[in-house]
Every structure is written in structure tokens, then in C-alpha cells.
């Protein structure tokens, strides 16, 4: 057996070795049922040494479930896994790790109270005498993070990191385990282009050492760039598996969704200039955003671009009363004072958090409870909640937002990521808001769903609502927004409109290469 | 003599049930009286809820500098060491009510006590005499030594008669617990003649339980301590409460007075003063009735 930790001096494999290498792992006829719902049906998959094998599919197609089975986190209902030709069954993730299979989870699994270095070495601390060698671990952690293009203090407490930073820490942690097969479940969903680039380089490095890589992403160009082989899942079935060179991103999209996704972004008729709905002047969110001023018009889609850490999320949270803030906010010309979220919600300004698991949905409650949580007032009859109307609303939401769920009585945490996002949108739309602020609307969302969400955002604008989209994906901002404001270091540094809406312009503003006129 | 500066520390249990509340009441009352009487005298009264904190309190009193200590221990044995320390420092020590297993002059100068075994014995003898064939249920206090002494005394009191103890259970000197235990006794035993519940607080719960069950087989109950409510009932001739056994909380006051006398009256005070466990009956009840005591 050949285990290879990062930087353990494993020699690179030659191309000949790679092509001739025997399969590291084979899945034969894997199936998985939850309750009565079969989410994986008869999957056959081969992982070869020195190959990046991408798995793509719609939200809820069963990708994460399959990966969890391969990494020993779940037991398959049927089928078997072979390693080096022998059937194996894992007693748990640690058992799989011992055999060299490691998984970067889609969810972030870190202990919030420990530091970065403590998390990276958790469970395999370096020892010095009877104590632990914190110095060595800090150094090792710092190096592992640098390799991934990150810049995080190894002594920082994880609960204080942004989601992107946590993701990097999590990848660094997994790559320190000696491995033969590394599984990445949407590692780049919350990373910046720079960090993504660094990660892809790392993946190429480990591939060169003969490690087998399974790679899940909804960013199809990225898949095209890194993968040697692409396997497509749809509704729990394996529908295609091709060499990556044979597929273009558009083909992948078609295979995933089962139809052509020719046009990702909806048509937007150039909106005529209408009255101002929201007017923000000199808004300060202490420690995060300074002196932000902007206007939002009726029926407009306004984008907020910027690098991770630019303070966009905090600005929006300050605006709706989730954080202390100072400044003037006028809604329909009337000054408003959003001290508490419920005042802004009542006024018709809804904010959808980027952290849908931590702040968006009650993962241990069912879909109905989640859907109506923010708008319960609408379902209260004389005294009590009208459950029948709640159920009807859920049916309606499942239809309107195309929430894919096996059963209607599952818990929100059991929905796939994309469907969670759709449920969150549905939940906030129950409030019938006038202004909708959506933070990272398509993080971790498949291309088919993305199309739907964009269409949906456009429809909201057409209905006369005003939308703010905060996103780190520039193409999507350019694709759907009427105007884009760019933030850097807590300040709005410029606005791009019309033909200036291109990635180059935005990046220059976001990095400070170019300073724009304040919006 | 009036010029002589003397500090007496008084350490007593916190007022956690009726009887200890009486102790606190009397200690405070007499402290005031004594300080009026002797200009140079300073009396510091401190209460503590459990042995460990009482040991602390004794230590704290010693730090303040005391010439005499009057202590009614929550639980005597655990406090012997703390008392010993004060005694070794040369202070006069008066021990009240609860005796440690080693109770001699090396530990204290004066011992003032109600008579715990006698409290049980008097009750036992009264029951044996009044209703020689009674079937009795017993409600105990808390599992600490004085409770055990009372039980032993009771057994001695009924020895030789045909009084039969059906059962003993802890009522924790708490009315609510006594109510519950009595209710269950009433369920369990179709016939009960007499209840010995040792303590006036618990008697309140016992009487309510009996009244609620509308049982007529119970002839009377015997409690103890001498609370104003129970003494009043005895005085009024309540059939259910014909007697009460005195275990006066004022004994702490006696000890304080004797200690003050040691410092000011030049009379040698030492040895043991055992107060009787007087049987309060309709005839003598009036002299034990203190209407403005909290107990």
C-alpha cells in the first residue's frame, strides 16, 4: 500500500505509471436508501491512481451521499466497495482514513473553540515529551495554509474566521492525513478565484504523486480545467462517465439537467429609471464597513461585488438591524430606524444570509416549520396557527421553487444544499418583501438550479421589488444585475454600469488597482 | 466591672426550619439584653447552614478576636476540631444542645443541652402509658446523630410495653415531606393509633394529611420542641395534640447568659446543664407559650 502525505517526499508518478495503474478503489452496485427514499441506485465507480475524477450532478443528485459512503461515513444499503481488488467495509470515517481515504466535507467540520492549528492537528497532535508540541504544529499549520494560498494566523480561533477561511483550514487539515484517495466535496464553493487557483494547483500536485482524487463542483469550467474523467449523477443514477477531454461545460450541464441549459441568465429589459425605494447614507457598521451610501430603485437588481472580507455581508447585516450600525436609511423617502430585524422585516426589507445552515434554516425541524418561521403572523387564525394553510403553503413553495425532496416530512437538514437554498428563498418570500437582499444566492448550487434562481430573482424585480445581490461570483453579478457596486476594505469604492460591467473593471476596483468615483 | 471589654461569639445554625428559627430568635433577643446589661460586652451572632460553613464561621469569629464562644453545632462531630482550636486559644467555650461523641472538658467549658434522648423517651413513655397497645408510626428528622439519639430514647421509653412501631421514615423536619410520608402511611396501614413525629413543624403536615383522609382511627399525635402553635393547641385542649415535648430553642439563651455570667459575675461556670424534656400538657402549657416568637 502506498500512502502519501503532502510533502512526505513521495516521488512523482510518471505518466506511464498513471495510465497503467490499477484501480485504487471500485464501487460495485452501490445503493442507499433513507427511510423509503432511494437516493442512490446501483452506482459503479472506479477511482484510479493519479487521476482526478469529477462527479457532477444537480443538487440532491446524491453526490455527497455517495462520497460519504466511499469515505466510510455512511454504510451502503446494497453493493460493495473494493480496494486493491479486495472487498472492504469501513467501520467509520477513521477506519477509511486508515486505509488512506480522506474526505473534505461539503459542510465545514471544525471545532469552533479551538485554534486553526489545533483543528488541523486534531486527533493526531504532535507530541513533545508528555505534552503537545504547539510550536511545531503552528509551523506545520501555517505552511499547510500557505500552500493553499491562504493567509490565516494559526493561532486564530476558528469561530472568528470567515466561511472561506474555515474552508481552507478544513482542506489543510484533511491533506495532512496520509492518503491514497482524496475526496473533495465542493471545496471551492466559498473560495475566491485566487484561493481556488491555489487549490487546483495543490490537486495537480497530489495527482502527480499518484493519489486518486474525487472532485465535486458545480463550477463546470473548473471541472473542465482539472478533471481527467467526469461522471454525471442524476436522481441517484449514474447517467454518464466520460474522459474530460470529450466534454465541454455545456455538455456537462446538459447531462446533469437532462436538457439544454443554453442560457443561464434571464433576459432583462433595460429597466426604465423608476423611483428610489431605499436610500442609504453614510452607514457605518463599526469594525466592518464605513461611510456606505447608495440608492436602490424600484424594480432594480443591484449587485455588490468585492473580495472575501470586503465587508459586504456585514454592511447588509448592519443595514437590516442584525448588527449595530449608524447612519441614515430612508425607505420610500421615510427615514427608518432598523434596530432589530423584525422592524426591517415588517417594513418589507428581507435579508437572506449566506450561512444558510447556521443562520438560515432550523436543520432539525421539518420543512413546514422552516418555511413559515419568519412569517408566522400570516398563518395565525384567531389564536392558533392554521396548520392546514401552512401545509398548503409548503405545497405551493415546493412547486414554485422546485424544491426537490423525497418526502415532505423530512427535516430541513436532510435536504441537499441547493434545495436548502431554495427553501430559504421560499421562506423569506413568504414575507412578500419590497426589498430583498440575497447574500451569495447560488453558493453550492447546481447549474440547473442556478438558472432557476436567476430567473426567479429577475421575476421578483419584474414584479416591482428591489433586489440587492451580494456575490463573489462576478459572472453571475454581471449576468443578472442592472448596476454593480464594488466594495473594498469596508468601503464602497466604485460603481460599474452598462458596458463597464465586466470582470476586469470589477477586479481592478476590488483590489484597489483602480479607484472609482464613489457611488 | 462594667468597664471590662468582652467579646462573645455565638455560632448557631441558620434558620432552616422552625426550631432553628427559634434558636436564632432567642439568640438575638438575649444578645441585645446582655449588651444592655453589660456596657463592655459585645455579642456577635452568626448563623451557618451546614457543618463546613459553620466551621468557617467559627474560624471567622476567632479572627475577630473573641473571649467566649457559644456554639450550637449543626452537626457536632465535624465541628469538634474547629471548636477545639478556639478552646486551645484560651477562649471560654459553651457548647449547646448537640454533643460530639467526645464531649468532655478538653473540648468545652460548659455544656448546655436539651436532652435529645429524653425527648424521645418522654414521648415514648407518654404513649406507653396512655395507649399501651398502640400501633405507632414514626416520622424521623434528617439522618444525623441527634435524630438517632431521639429514636433510641423513644425505644427506651416504650420498652416493656406492647406499643408497636409499624414503621419509621424520614420527614426531614419539613412539613411538606411529613405530609407526604403521612399520606403514604395512611394508605399503607388501615389502622394507626398514634403518630410520633418528633417535631412541631412536621406535625403541621401530619395533621393536614390525617384531616384530609378523614381517618378516625388515629387517636393523637405526639410532636416536640414547643412551638407556639403546638403549645397553643395543647393549651386549647386539641384532642389530636394532647401533649408536646419541650425542647426549648431558648436553651441557647441560657448558655449565653451563663457565659456572660462567667465573665462578669465571677461565679465559676462549668460542667453540664441538661434541660429537661418537659412534657407540656394542658395544665402547664401557659408558661411555655411565647406568642411573639417566630416559632
Amino acid at each position: 500500500m502506498r500512502l502519501c502525505a503532502r510533502d512526505s517526499g513521495c516521488p512523482a508518478m510518471t505518466a506511464a505509471e498513471v495510465s497503467s495503474s490499477a484501480p485504487l478503489m471500485e464501487a460495485m452496485g452501490l445503493s442507499k436508501t433513507f427511510g423509503i427514499v432511494e437516493v442512490l441506485k446501483d452506482i459503479n465507480l472506479t477511482v484510479r491512481a493519479g487521476e482526478v475524477h469529477a462527479i457532477i450532478g444537480e443538487n440532491g443528485a446524491g453526490k455527497s451521499t455517495l462520497m460519504k459512503i466511499l469515505a466510510g461515513n455512511l454504510a451502503p444499503s446494497r453493493g460493495e466497495i473494493r480496494m486493491d481488488g479486495e472487498a472492504v467495509s469501513f467501520s467509520g470515517p477513521v477506519d477509511a482514513e486508515r486505509r488512506g481515504i480522506v474526505l473534505v466535507h461539503q459542510e465545514i467540520l471544525l471545532a469552533p473553540d479551538l485554534t486553526v492549528a489545533q483543528n488541523i492537528y486534531l486527533g493526531r497532535e504532535l507530541k513533545k515529551g508528555i505534552g503537545v508540541d504547539d510550536r511545531a504544529m503552528n509551523e506545520g499549520a501555517a505552511k499547510a495554509i500557505r500552500d493553499l494560498g491562504g493567509d490565516i494566523d494559526p493561532n486564530a480561533i476558528v469561530s472568528r474566521l470567515s466561511i472561506a477561511q474555515r474552508q481552507i483550514v478544513q482542506i489543510a487539515r484533511v491533506l495532512l492525513v496520509p492518503h491514497r484517495i482524496v475526496i473533495f466535496d465542493e471545496p471551492t464553493a466559498s473560495l475566491t478565484p485566487h484561493e481556488t487557483e491555489a487549490l487546483l494547483k495543490v490537486i495537480r500536485d497530489i495527482r502527480a504523486k499518484g493519489v486518486g482524487v474525487l472532485y465535486i463542483s458545480h463550477r463546470l469550467p473548473e471541472v473542465k480545467e482539472i478533471a481527467d474523467r467526469v461522471t454525471v449523477l442524476r436522481d441517484g443514477r449514474l447517467v454518464a462517465s466520460h474522459a474530460a477531454s470529450e466534454l465541454e461545460p455545456a455538455d456537462m450541464a446538459r447531462l446533469m439537467v437532462g436538457r439544454d441549459v443554453a442560457k443561464l441568465y434571464p433576459d432583462r429589459h433595460a429597466a426604465e429609471v423608476r423611483e428610489t425605494v431605499l436610500e442609504v447614507e453614510h452607514l457605518n457598521v463599526p469594525g466592518y464597513a464605513q461611510d456606505a451610501s447608495f440608492r436602490l430603485r424600484k424594480g432594480e437588481i443591484l449587485g455588490f461585488a468585492g473580495l472575501v472580507g470586503a465587508g459586504r455581508t456585514e454592511l447588509m447585516e448592519g443595514l437590516v438591524g442584525l448588527r449595530p450600525s449608524r447612519g441614515t436609511v430612508r425607505l420610500n423617502g421615510q427615514p427608518v430606524d432598523f434596530r432589530q430585524v423584525h422592524t426591517s422585516l415588517k417594513a418589507g426589507v428581507a435579508y437572506l444570509s449566506e450561512d444558510r445552515k447556521g443562520k438560515g434554516l432550523l436543520l432539525t425541524k421539518d420543512l413546514r416549520v422552516n418555511l413559515t418561521l419568519a412569517s408566522l403572523g400570516k398563518f395565525v387564525g384567531a389564536l392558533q396557527i392554521d396548520r392546514k394553510r401552512e401545509s398548503e403553503a409548503l405545497d405551493q413553495a415546493i412547486r414554485d421553487f422546485d424544491i426537490r425532496t423525497g418526502a415532505r416530512d423530512i427535516l430541513a437538514g436532510q435536504l441537499s444544499g441547493g434545495n436548502q437554498q431554495k427553501l430559504l428563498i421560499a421562506k423569506m418570500m413568504m414575507l412578500d418583501p419590497q426589498v430583498v437582499i440575497i447574500d451569495e444566492p447560488t453558493r453550492g448550487i447546481d447549474i440547473g438550479n442556478k438558472e432557476q434562481i436567476y430567473k426567479f430573482i429577475a421575476r421578483l424585480a419584474d414584479e416591482g421589488r428591489s433586489i440587492i445581490v451580494v456575490s463573489s461570483e462576478m459572472p453571475e453579478l454581471i449576468g443578472i444585475c442592472d448596476r454593480i457596486l464594488v466594495m473594498r476594505s469596508g468601503r464602497i469604492v466604485g460603481e460599474v454600469t452598462g458596458e463597464h460591467m465586466n470582470e476586469n473593471e470589477i477586479v481592478q476596483l476590488a483590489t484597489g488597482v483602480k479607484t472609482g468615483e464613489a457611488a | 466591672q462594667e468597664e471590662k471589654k468582652v467579646t462573645i461569639g455565638v455560632s448557631i445554625p441558620a434558620a432552616d426550619h422552625g426550631w432553628t428559627a427559634g434558636v436564632v430568635f432567642h439568640a438575638e433577643r438575649v444578645a441585645k439584653l446582655l449588651m444592655e446589661e453589660h456596657k463592655g460586652l459585645n455579642v456577635i451572632v452568626k448563623t451557618s447552614p451546614d457543618p463546613a460553613s459553620q466551621a468557617n464561621a467559627v474560624q471567622d469569629l476567632a479572627v475577630q478576636g473573641i473571649d467566649g464562644l457559644v456554639i450550637l453545632p449543626t452537626d457536632p462531630d465535624p465541628l469538634v476540631n474547629a471548636i477545639q482550636q478556639v478552646k486551645d486559644s484560651g477562649a471560654f467555650v459553651a457548647l449547646v444542645d448537640r454533643a460530639p461523641s467526645n464531649n468532655d472538658n478538653s473540648v468545652r467549658d460548659l455544656y448546655v443541652a436539651g436532652n435529645n434522648p429524653a425527648l424521645g423517651q418522654v414521648a415514648g413513655e407518654y404513649i406507653a402509658k396512655t395507649t399501651p397497645n398502640a400501633e405507632v408510626v414514626v416520622i424521623r428528622g434528617l439522618p444525623i446523630p441527634i435524630d438517632q439519639q431521639r429514636q433510641d430514647g423513644f425505644d427506651k421509653g416504650i420498652a416493656g410495653s406492647s406499643v408497636k412501631v409499624l414503621e419509621r421514615q424520614y420527614g426531614n423536619w419539613n412539613r411538606d415531606d411529613a405530609f407526604r410520608v403521612m399520606q403514604d402511611y395512611l394508605t399503607k396501614y388501615p389502622k394507626i393509633d398514634v403518630v410520633w413525629c418528633q417535631d412541631d413543624d412536621m406535625a403541621v403536615g401530619v395533621l393536614e394529611a390525617i384531616e384530609q383522609a378523614k381517618r378516625t382511627d388515629i387517636q393523637y399525635i405526639v410532636a416536640g420542641a414547643g412551638s407556639k402553635d403546638m403549645v397553643k393547641r395543647v393549651m386549647d385542649g386539641d384532642k389530636m395534640v394532647p401533649v408536646d415535648v419541650l425542647y426549648p430553642p431558648s436553651m441557647v439563651a441560657t448558655a449565653m447568659q451563663l457565659t456572660a455570667a462567667h465573665f462578669y459575675d465571677q461565679v465559676p461556670v462549668s460542667g453540664e446543664y441538661i434541660l429537661d424534656a418537659t412534657l407540656v400538657t394542658k395544665d402547664n402549657a401557659e408558661q411555655f407559650y411565647f406568642p411573639d416568637s417566630p416559632f
Binding site: F34, G35, H105, I108, L109, L110, A111, P112, V158, R166, L322, Q340, V341, H342, S344, Y351, S353, D355, K357, G358, K359, L361, L362, L363, T364, K365, V369, L373, A374, L376, G377, V380, L383, Q384, I385, D409, G413, K427 | A14, A15, D16, H17, G18, A21, F25, R140, P143, Q169, N174, R175, D176, F179, R180, Q183, Y185, T187, K188, V204, E208, P294
Partner: protein, 333 residues
């Protein structure tokens, strides 16, 4: 606990699992009833069962409030002393004789008790929410305060309702019965029904559960977390007041020891009833069942003839553990 790792790996797979969790306390209760019958056939008599359920009223009603506090993610250790404090003030007021008409006096005193309970609960709530002190410590502090004030009010002794007429008027509230069912039992079930309705059917109840299961999600959904939590403490205070309304007519007096350790019993009842201490789940009927279980364990112990009085505490502890083990093993199925 935080947003970092949120995978619900061991989340119950289907709703069936939850049903089991809800049913488990009732199965434990049934087993206890059988056990009780073997310990002493008198146990199963209507009179005894009525007695037991009647006297579980205090803990059961207090535990209903505790269900709110706990499922909203809080904890209240002060309820025992709150009972003593509210009851003492109520009796002192009745003794004050400020109102001549006994009926009117009684009603005023009851309203006073309810207002006091709500105020004490509000105080707890504000300290934990606005003061941002861990509920465990905050209510440990107020436990000391309420108990201390009671001791001071009673000067360490007992506070007894003196007015005979009032006492006679008030007695039936505990000792009376309607259609053969003791009043306290009726009050338990009425209170529980109201509590269940509010928790399961109203907006506020939904908010309690949301706040208890994830504070951030609740906040981002526009729920005022502090308000919901504070009200939960007020509900607890009201339940304490209801318990006081039953407690005072029983013995007509309070002392510094009234209600001691009731907080632990109430919390035990809640947990035995299937509500998790970490919040986000509330089982009203389970709580009532839990309170019955606790009282019945004590009752069986006293009625059976083979347990030394010294060992009762030990066996009671063991039975609680065994009951929980049985529950767990039922749920695993």
C-alpha cells in the same frame, strides 16, 4: 452548537423515531404502575393514586413552566425559592387584613400571587437576556435572593395564615374535588392543556422552539430572541404562582424550607418527560408524565415493605437512572 459543523449525522431518520421518544415516558409510567402493584396492592387503589397525583401537582405545574424555559434554551434553578417567596408574601398579605371581605381578600391575594410570580420570572428573564449571564448562574443567584428574602420575611420561622375564615374559604382549592376528581388534578390537566396549546399551536410557542434550536436562525428570521426567552421565564413565574395558589391552602403556612430542591425535581420531571436540556424540543405531556413518575417512585418506596429508610434516596436515584436507560433503549429501536 455553532454554525461550524452542522451535519446532523445522528438526527432521527424519520418521524417514527420521534414518536418513540414521545411515548417512552408513558411506557415507563405504565411499568412503574405494574411494579407498584407488586410492591403493595394498595398502591393501585383509586384513593392512593389520587393522593399521589394530587401531591405531584406542585412539581408538575412548575415543570410545565420549566418546559418552556428549557425548550427555549434556558434553565431556571430559582423556582423552589420562588415558591417560598411568593407564598410567603401572599400569606403576609392575607394576614395584613387590609381587605375586610374574605372572598374579595382571597381573590386579591391570588391575583397578587400571580403578579408576583410573573414579576419574579421577569426578573430572572431580564438578568439572563439583557444581563447576558448564563441561566445556570443567574438563576442560582436569584435562588439565593428569593430564599434569603423569604427567610428574612419569616425571620427564619414559619409564616402561617391566621384568619380562620379565609382558611376555610381557601381550603377546597387544594382539598376539594369536582365530580370526584380532586381540584389539583383538574388544575394540572387544565394548565397542561393550555401550555400544550400555546407551545404547539401558537406563534409564540413556535418561536420558543425556534429560539431553543438555533438562536441565530431565529434572530435572522426576525424573532426577538430576548423577548421570547424573557417571556418563557415569565411563563415559568406564572406556573410557580399557580403552584403557590395550590400550595398555600394545603398547609396554610410557609417556612424557609418551603420548596427546597423543587427546582431539581422540576428539571428532572422535564427531562424524564423527554425534553432535551439543550433546548429546541418541548414535550408538555411528557413533562406531566415525568412529574407523576417522580412522585410515584417515592410513593412505591414508602408503600413497599422491604426497603430500609436509609436506602430510599439511593434507590430513588437508581430508579431514575434505570427509567432513563429504558427510555433510551426504547428510542434506539
Amino acid at each position: 452548537m455553532s454554525s461550524v459543523a452542522t451535519e446532523t449525522t445522528k438526527a432521527p431518520k424519520t418521524s417514527k423515531d420521534w414518536d418513540m421518544a414521545a411515548v417512552a415516558p408513558f411506557i415507563a409510567l405504565a411499568l412503574l404502575l405494574v411494579l407498584g402493584y407488586f410492591a403493595n396492592p394498595n398502591f393501585i387503589s383509586v384513593a392512593n393514586l389520587m393522593n399521589v397525583i394530587t401531591r405531584s401537582a406542585f412539581i408538575a405545574i412548575i415543570a410545565l413552566g420549566a418546559t418552556y424555559v428549557i425548550s427555549s434554551g434556558g434553565l431556571d434553578l430559582s423556582v423552589g425559592s420562588m415558591v417560598a417567596f411568593v407564598a410567603s408574601l401572599m400569606i403576609l398579605f392575607m394576614n395584613s387584613g387590609t381587605i375586610a371581605d374574605p372572598m374579595f381578600m382571597l381573590i386579591t391575594a391570588m391575583l397578587l400571587a400571580i403578579a408576583l410570580g410573573a414579576a419574579c420570572g421577569l426578573f430572572n428573564g431580564l438578568i439572563t437576556t439583557i444581563g447576558r449571564i448564563e441561566p445556570f448562574i443567574a438563576t442560582l443567584g436569584t435562588m439565593g435572593i428569593y430564599r434569603g428574602l423569604t427567610t428574612w420575611l419569616s425571620q427564619g420561622g414559619a409564616i402561617t395564615l391566621r384568619d380562620r375564615e379565609l382558611q376555610a374559604l381557601y381550603r377546597p382549592v387544594y382539598f376539594g374535588s369536582i365530580a370526584g376528581i380532586p381540584v389539583p388534578i383538574i388544575i394540572i390537566f387544565v394548565t397542561a392543556a393550555i401550555a400544550a396549546f400555546v407551545l404547539y399551536r401558537t406563534r409564540y410557542g413556535r418561536h420558543v422552539i425556534a429560539v431553543g434550536s438555533n438562536e441565530d436562525v431565529a434572530r435572522y428570521s426576525g424573532i426577538s430572541v430576548n423577548r421570547v426567552r424573557t417571556i418563557a421565564y415569565v411563563v415559568q413565574g406564572l406556573c410557580v404562582a399557580v403552584a403557590v395558589l395550590l400550595y398555600v391552602p394545603r398547609l396554610g403556612s410557609t417556612s424557609a424550607t418551603t420548596g427546597i430542591l423543587w427546582e431539581l425535581q422540576a428539571i428532572t420531571a422535564v427531562v424524564v418527560g423527554g425534553t432535551a436540556l439543550r433546548g429546541g424540543v418541548g414535550r408538555i405531556w411528557g413533562t406531566v408524565c415525568g412529574a407523576f413518575i417522580l412522585e410515584i417512585v417515592g410513593n412505591i418506596m414508602l408503600l413497599s415493605n422491604f426497603i430500609s429508610e436509609y436506602l430510599i434516596g439511593a434507590i430513588q436515584g437508581a430508579i431514575i437512572i434505570i427509567a432513563m436507560l429504558v427510555q433510551r433503549s426504547l428510542m434506539r429501536k
